[in-house]
Assembly symmetry: C2
Homo-oligomer: 430 residues x 2
């Protein structure tokens, strides 16, 4: 049995999970890694903060120098989150030949190039399984198990908070605000829920997945992003009538050699496996040209699930650190452009409030026709005063045609409001 | 770019998949592994057999000596199946310092000890991702990604043929025979379907999974096995009425320190993720004490999906072969006993044909009571001539009590036939 010293940078949710797992599963981890893992330092901002965790005070430090200067520490576990100083600390660590484990999606999505380049140059390992999908082994899946495949498509429910909210809205027919409040009560959503509900979190994760699936680097700002704040119970109800469920999906496809990357609420067939991924669960569905359809499902967040991924990465380093040579496969340093959203091809759900006057349906239908948008279904329902709700489901068309149609419809005198436009992915069900 | 030579032992379904993938994804595999992989020999029984595959004839050999004696061949890919000579060839290969990849569940389930021991002694890598769940990365998942967990439970749909048959029986209300015939037509079931429908195949796979989940070795013959040939449409219909779906499950649990291993048709709640795994898909659902619930879903068989796993293993060897040291975690050489089935605790569905006479229900109910079996629901339906069908759902009880009850009921003069006893797992749904 050998000993190894590691340091935690941060002791928030994930850091606590790592601490707990290393304690509760000590024997298993020792047996499986061959190492007795000692957390010898923990970087925190406030040593005296109440943490509900029995950690000897002498492990805490507020001074990163104490950690970086300690050559007996072989692995840095960065679980502080955010971009800086996390990036700076990881890079400093690599330059001091420390291996790095992180669960920091924001840091990787925004700084993948320098992190990979530095770890390659310094010959240290850099693992980040916890950054996407919590305990779901999707990063290693793409990096290792599925290397024999050309990945054709990745479709993921990669944000647990929004999935919880949409599940509540669907099952209990409550509003977004009510469901958000419940999520906040349960600790699934933060006081400021912007990062989740506006899909910034999902975009970071999709950025990481796309780079793995297509051996590339993607500028995170080029990914289309649309949150769930505009989803109304009535949209969910219409979706149900048409046989769909609304999920916030991250979508990666290669179309005509171009990379399509987008995160937005999406209607998918109610029988598709992703449609039954409920509450705060995450799932990543992918198609490989050899493996076919594959789905990984599990807890996408939480201290223990994400801790499971982080500790898995630590063990992976321990198993390899004495014989590590840099893998070819991490050299994803070629940037790829993301396909323009106007080229994206979908079916669309469009809900419009119009004045209840003769000829309105005709006017709108003509506009769709002029823009080559062919209509699959129309529903007119829910009369109230002088307004009426029109719902269209289109045949598959490019987004540009939809945008042009919407612009023209908005300009109509009889059109009160474009209430919602939701993309539909008619995923094949088996 | 380096070159590496490998040999295929066998060119059946999986072998063809490996050949195809190495050709169709050559560039990706080269980039991700750093190696140009050359299949330099293929062991077959009949060189002139029609294979519908463009393979240069000069690669074929019927003589294993040609392969084992060729020191330029670094990896043997054993895809011939069966126990012998597969085991012999793999062991010979290891002794000649060749790394081994196999998809042979039967060989591993029956000979794990000698295979692991020899690969350890010879310092070669031994990978077998394709042996369970086709392209689903469950072996590496348990071996690598989930090492931070104590695995508490593994429940899997690990045989695609029986899942196809049960799905057809459920959705189309057809008999086992009819569904089997369809499966045979589609190539999902073999002419002699025994290995699948009597659950031998699933038992081999469960044996492998249990050894990984619990760092142990299990005697494959000690695993309880029950196939699906006795499942009738009426059982599926009753299951539906009670909110269940019938699946052939492989179940691994640790109960009071004992290992519970069993493969049998099982009723599970219709809302559980496993209940929606249809057709020939496989899925493995597990609980870890850190990761929580996790499910991996995909194609459990087929030349390309299983080939995906095999080629993934080949790449894994290529990435590590110049710096490989034997992992601690493979040393699962401690045998563990399997828990006696009589101790297993479940709820039970019991369907009995009885004579339609007064007092029969009372007699049978009394027998259950005497044996401490408490009844949750009873349905009496489907009168026909002088017989009547009684269906009981019990509260949770040990299997011994059920067996004792069944024996006593069988001996009753008014009981015509115990038609079926199906275990119920009330898996939590989220």
């Amino acid at each position: 049995m050998q000993k190894v010293k590691i340091a935690l940078l941060g002791l928030g949710n994930v850091g606590k999970g790592v601490w707990k797992i290393l304690n509760m599963n000590k024997d298993e981890i020792l047996k499986r890694s061959g190492y007795d893992i000692e957390i010898s330092k923990i970087l925190v901002r406030d040593i005296n903060k109440e943490r509900n965790l029995e950690v000897p005070k002498e492990l805490f430090t507020t001074n990163f120098e104490e950690i970086i200067e300690d050559d007996s520490i072989e692995i840095l576990v960065e679980v502080m989150g955010g971009v800086e100083p996390a990036i700076d600390y990881m890079l400093q660590g690599m330059r001091r030949k420390k291996h790095i484990v992180t669960a920091n999606k924001m840091a990787i999505a925004t700084n993948a190039e320098i992190l990979f380049k530095t770890s390659r140059e310094e010959g240290v390992m850099f693992h980040y399984e916890g950054s996407v999908g919590g305990g779901i082994p999707i990063i290693h899946g793409l990096n290792d198990n599925l290397v024999a495949n050309k990945i054709e498509e990745v479709i993921g429910i990669i944000n647990g908070t929004t999935n919880y909210i949409l599940t509540k809205m669907t099952h209990e027919k409550i509003s977004f605000r009510e469901a958000l409040a419940e999520a906040q009560n349960k600790g699934y959503a933060e006081a400021d829920p912007t990062s989740d509900v506006e899909a910034f979190d999902a975009v970071y994760k999709l950025c990481i997945l796309s780079s793995l699936a297509f051996d590339t680097v993607v500028n995170v700002n080029s990914i289309y992003r649309e949150g769930i704040t505009n989803i109304k119970p009535i949209d969910i109800e219409y979706a149900r009538e048409f046989g769909y469920v609304i999920k916030l999906l991250g979508i990666i496809k290669e179309v005509n050699g171009e990379l399509e990357l987008r995160v937005h609420p999406t209607m998918i067939p109610a029988e598709h496996p992703l449609a039954n991924v409920n509450d705060s669960f995450n799932a990543i569905f992918l198609k490989g040209n050899a493996v076919g359809d594959l789905m990984l499902y599990g807890r996408g967040a939480g201290e223990l699930p994400t801790g499971s991924a982080v500790v898995g990465d630590i063990v992976s380093i321990l198993r390899n650190k004495d014989k590590f040579a840099y893998h070819t496969y991490l050299e994803n340093d070629q940037y790829r452009e993301v396909r323009d959203m106007e080229k994206v091809q979908c079916e669309y759900y469009i809900r419009i409030t119009v004045k209840d006057k003769p000829g309105v349906l005709g006017e709108i239908s003509s506009i769709f026709g002029e823009n080559n948008v062919s209509i699959l279904s129309v529903i007119q329902k829910g009369k109230r005063e002088e307004q009426v709700s029109l719902v269209f489901i289109t045949h598959s068309t490019v987004e540009q045609n939809i945008n042009n149609s919407i612009n023209m419809i908005s300009a109509l005198e009889d059109s009160e409001k474009i209430e919602n436009v939701i993309r539909i992915e008619n995923l094949a069900t088996n």
